[in-house]
């Protein structure tokens, strides 16, 4: 458990009066919970990342507060659906570090029954900035591309600079030959 992240999330929930909250990070097409408050043992849980406010905020990079209608299916998707709650108020803020959104801090349902205010958005945005720093990847692995990204880059290199491509391909072949 990332105690720094957990502490930031707890502060965000306290200062806004949120009943529950979690931080999710992308895991392929899914979202993985890496911190949670008042929500049981959620850490490590993965949920589908195709709908829901956290998925939108992760993709758009824009913070958002919303009060979904009871009949809105999107409100009960994601982690809220996993927990089994239908939130009446949601606040989602991107956790960014450098130039990348690394996760989303999501709070639901204020204790006073109201919606999250613009002040809440501003406060949690500040805290999410610190959370973004806590989520930054290990420097030893941050530059490693996924196989799909590497494949795409190699194809582009082959079309734009065949000589360089041949050099890179030779190195890769040698590495593979050495196991």
């Amino acid at each position: 458990m990332n105690v720094v992240l957990q502490s930031i999330l707890g502060s965000a929930a306290d200062v806004t009066g949120a009943q529950q909250g979690w931080v999710v990070v992308p895991d392929g097409d899914a979202l993985e919970v890496v911190a949670a408050v008042n929500s049981g043992d959620l850490i490590g849980v993965t949920v589908q990342g195709d709908t829901g406010p956290a998925a939108y905020v992760l993709a758009s990079g824009q913070p958002m507060a919303m009060m979904p209608r009871a009949d809105d299916p999107a409100a009960t998707s994601g982690v809220a659906a996993h927990v089994g709650v239908r939130p009446s108020a949601v606040l989602c803020v991107p956790c960014a570090h450098d130039d990348e959104v690394l996760g989303v801090l999501e709070l639901i349902d204020k204790r006073d029954g109201g919606g999250f205010t613009f002040d809440d958005v501003e406060l949690v945005t500040l805290l999410a900035g610190i959370a973004g720093a806590a989520l930054r990847p290990d420097p030893a692995t941050r530059e490693v591309r996924s196989p799909e990204e590497l494949s795409t880059e190699l194809r582009q290199l082959a079309s734009t600079d065949p000589t360089a491509y041949i050099g890179v391909a030779s190195v890769l072949e040698a590495l593979l030959a050495r196991g």
């Binding site: 990342g49 990079g61 958002m64 009949d71 130039d99 959104v101 501003e122």
Partner: protein
């Protein structure tokens, strides 16, 4: 008159003692006819390069900047004839709030192809989340006759990719939309230059790009560029009430707090965020563009500045509003509006 009446006489003017009267240009002392012009005046006076007699050079019916009023800018306009692109999660075209304003067949979905490159797929599509429908609903409320087109860049999985986002915006620019609403952005610096070039292209082609300001302490592209118009929240409940922010890159503030928005599936909900402020200004811009189709983006920005609530209501002449005065005026108008300005200042300070 008696026959012996000498009648009025016209004494010769005494130029040393007679009071000076203002002269019109070209008027000669004593009313003498002007001398014949030098022969070179017969030739047409060369105009500065690029100028022409055109409505592009002057705003019809406006004598000065003070004459730029909301009534002049969008009074009586419905947005008819204006095409607005919403680059977002898609639009629920069947939503009753939208009243058929969406060009369903003209929309496109931009996604990553198998080769990793963005591909554009034309045709009807749904809203993956609801946010694009919310933006379209706000624009439609303000400009009911504007035609809205969805450019979906947040696809299945809502996985936003910067190159998909860029391709969607590029498609909108190529299609010559009048207004493009962007309630999203990317923080990736690798994409800063392509977005910069694309937004410049939009600006020069006459497409007015409205973006949501990022109120986080990190840059977001393309909201930082002068070629776009960046918008954050004010505290107003009046959808037509927007403010000029004297601390760029965020240049305007519009309603974005506790806004009743249309949502996918024919529903509605209440939302807060700069992403709801941007479509308010897009809607106003659509009204202005409909009434004054000749306006270029920089003129549109000038009209919006002149018609902003805090400029219209400024105690001094338009354009003499200082940042401190704007903050005090906004506080008087909205009670806590300085929060919005503070937020904007913070984000702009890091840009």
């Amino acid at each position: 008159m008696a026959d012996d009446d000498p009648g009025p006489t016209t004494p010769a003017p005494d130029h040393d003692t007679a009071p000076m009267k203002p002269k019109r240009p070209g008027e000669r002392p004593g009313g003498a006819p002007p001398p014949p012009p030098p022969s070179h005046v017969d030739e047409p006076e060369p105009r500065p390069f690029g100028t022409r007699e055109s409505v592009a050079l002057r705003l019809a019916g406006v004598e000065s900047l003070e004459g730029l009023s909301p009534e002049w800018a969008w009074g009586g306009s419905t947005g008819k004839g204006v095409r607005v692109a919403v680059v977002d999660s898609g639009i629920d075209a069947d939503h009753p709030d939208l009243e058929g304003c969406v060009d369903r067949d003209g929309g496109v979905v931009v996604s990553l192809g198998e080769d990793g490159e963005p591909m554009v797929t034309p045709g009807p599509h749904e809203d993956m989340f609801g946010h694009g429908t919310a933006c379209a609903g706000i624009i439609h409320r303000l400009a009911p006759d504007a035609r809205i087109t969805s450019i979906r860049v947040l696809g299945a999985g809502l996985s936003g990719k910067s190159n998909v986002f860029l391709a969607g915006l590029a498609w909108a620019v190529e299609q010559g939309f009048d207004i493009v609403n962007l309630s999203l952005g990317t923080g990736k610096r690798d994409w800063a230059l392509p977005f910069y070039e694309l937004c410049d292209r939009a600006y020069f082609r006459g497409t007015f790009v409205v973006t949501a300001a990022n109120n986080m302490s990190r840059p977001s592209f393309p909201s930082l560029y002068a070629s776009v118009t960046s918008v954050a929240c004010n505290l107003s409940r009046d959808p037509f009430r927007f403010h000029y922010n004297p601390e760029p890159p965020t240049e305007f503030l519009a309603p974005g707090i506790d806004v009743e928005v249309s949502w996918r599936g024919g529903t509605r909900q209440q939302g807060t965020g700069n992403s709801y402020a941007a479509p308010h200004l897009s809607g106003i811009a659509a009204l202005v563009k409909s009434k004054h189709p000749e306006l270029r983006p920089f003129q549109m920005k000038t009209v919006l500045w002149a018609t902003a609530a805090n400029v219209q209501e400024a105690p001094t002449a338009a354009g003499r509003l200082t940042a401190a005065l704007a903050a005090s005026r906004l506080t008087a108008l909205g009670g806590r509006a300085t929060t919005a300005l503070r937020s904007v200042s913070r984000s702009s300070g890091t840009a």
